[in-house]
Amino acid sequence: MTNPFWLGVPSGMTGNGAAGLMGRAGATAARMVLGTALSRLRQGAGLSAGQASEATGVPPGVITGMELGRSDVRLWDVAGLYSAYGVDDVAERSTLLGLAHRANSTEWWHGYRDVIPDWFEHYLGLEQAASLIRLYSGQPVPALLQTPGYARELIRLSHVRVTDDELERRVELRLRRQHILHSDQPLRFWVVIDEAALRRLAGPPSVMRDQIRHLIGLCDLPHVTIRVLPFRFGVHPANAGGPISVLRLPDRELPDIAFVEHFGGAEYFQSRTELDYFRHVLNLLALQAEPAGPVKDLLAQVLRET
């Protein structure tokens, strides 16, 4: 085999836990790199997921899940797959097993698993590892930009029987997620928010005014770009669903992932055609939301009117 890309992955991804990428990217990035490697190896060996399953006893769903970076990784399964794919070189096997080990390492949010729905955990991992997130939200203000007060109002709405303790844990989780906007190598966050998300109150007007002031402050961060899609533009394709995000990981070899939330769940998209579509939609929205003047002026106007 000639130099597969994942053997050239920087030490932060495959080595012994060097800082840099590992600081933030951790298990999820390792999982994505491992998944891409497993998929290329399987195709290189000319096997379908079903054939690989027959050869190893690993269920086909687990093989596909690992290749997409979504399933938990069992070292025993991975070792079996490497054998079936003819990965014999000791150095190569140990690099890949190191990656698999990393993919299982504990992430900070595992302590919050009781308040994280299953469908959301993969997104959380990607969000915390991403180098760039482009996002459109028609409603509400995106989680990474929310104040505790605004977050509390939204969480109460969707969890009617929530206890005070659980409510605070959910708020705390949301605030910890926001650390990626303030780290040494911050996330580039490019957001288009529909004007409706700014106008519709969550709780009393004072909560909304705090939220708008917070957004105005965030505009000063060079790696955060907030755009507002004003009411004067009509309906658009993204009106049809919930928030859309396209996430890009620091490893340039990994494909983007699109994530579309809907009521009570979400869908992930990873094919090139799907990504072309969602990136195009985000491009169109970004162009429509291109400011005539500074975004801060528009936010200040909303603040005065709230």
Binding site: T225, F269, R272, T273, D276, R279, H280, A286, L287, E290
Partner: protein, 273 residues
């Protein structure tokens, strides 16, 4: 959604034409970016078949930009940059290279493609010490470029102007010369100009065929020039060593493997006396 009809869902808008390959987007594809469209990949793959070195050209061009901007911000002490033909954001964009040398550098990005501008505005943002601005303007209207850039740059102090991926789109030599004279006439002595331009010096007919193919399937059209033609566009300016050369050979980083292989993208940096 299925994979069968790649372009069906990607309706063109007034600002994004999804049916024709665009210069900035095909460049993004060759540089390994993800912000291109199916039509760019189709045309890009076809050109790669005709001219397998094109990916090397794209990378060498970016690496030249890096070395030239490091020279300009470093040795030449320039703190103001006018980057005409920005392209889609990639690694080591002009302001990142310049502000690594001197965080107070001020950069104006100019492009005529709205998609490029919206990406640049969102992603090419300055350090707090310096400044970046973004101009929707066309190199063919240098007066407009200069007027817009004057919001951010002080034209009584030296400015480095870079015209890298777009000089070849000015297909008439007289027009190219007039544009360069107008731009360089508006900046003081001690200012610089960096240019890059496809040639036929290395690959000959292969490059000529690739350019013909581009002119039939992409936009905007372009031409090749000879190194002598490139030099004559810089008439009246002092060429910085080593003059008009293949991009890989402009002040290359030292390697143990001798001189880098020449490619058909030539470049030069010149100083206004």
């Amino acid at each position: 959604m299925t994979d069968e009809n790649p372009s069906a869902q990607l309706a063109s808008s007034a600002q994004i034409d999804t049916s024709v390959s665009h210069s900035a987007r095909i460049w993004d594809y060759w540089l390994g970016g993800k912000d291109n469209y199916p039509v760019d990949r189709q045309v890009g793959d076809q050109i790669t078949r005709m001219l397998p070195d094109i990916v090397k050209h794209a990378r060498a061009d970016r690496m030249f930009l890096g070395r030239a901007v490091r020279f300009l911000a470093g040795e030449a002490g320039i703190r103001q940059f006018l980057d005409i033909g920005t392209g889609l954001p990639t690694v080591d964009n002009t302001h990142e290279v310049a502000q690594r040398v001197a965080p107070e550098c001020r950069i104006v990005y100019v492009d005529n493609d709205p998609l490029v501008l919206v990406h640049a505005r969102a992603l090419l943002t300055s350090t707090p010490a310096g400044a970046t601005d973004y101009l929707h303007a066309d190199l063919r209207d240098p007066g407009d470029v200069l007027a817009g850039a004057a919001r951010t740059l002080d034209f009584t102090r030296p400015v480095a102007i870079t015209i890298l991926g777009v000089l070849w789109h000015i297909t008439d030599d007289d027009e190219a010369l007039a544009i360069i004279r107008r731009l360089m006439g508006s900046v003081p002595s001690g200012s610089y100009l960096a240019v890059a331009q496809p040639t036929l010096e290395v690959t000959g007919e292969k490059m000529a065929a690739a350019i013909r193919y581009w002119n039939e399937h992409g936009t905007p059209p372009g031409i090749h020039r000879t190194p002598a033609q490139i030099a004559s566009l810089l008439d009246g300016l002092e060429l910085v060593e080593p003059g008009v050369v293949s991009s890989t050979r402009w002040r290359p980083e030292a390697t143990p493997f001798g001189e880098p292989e020449a490619i058909d993208q030539f470049c030069a940096v010149a100083r206004k006396p």
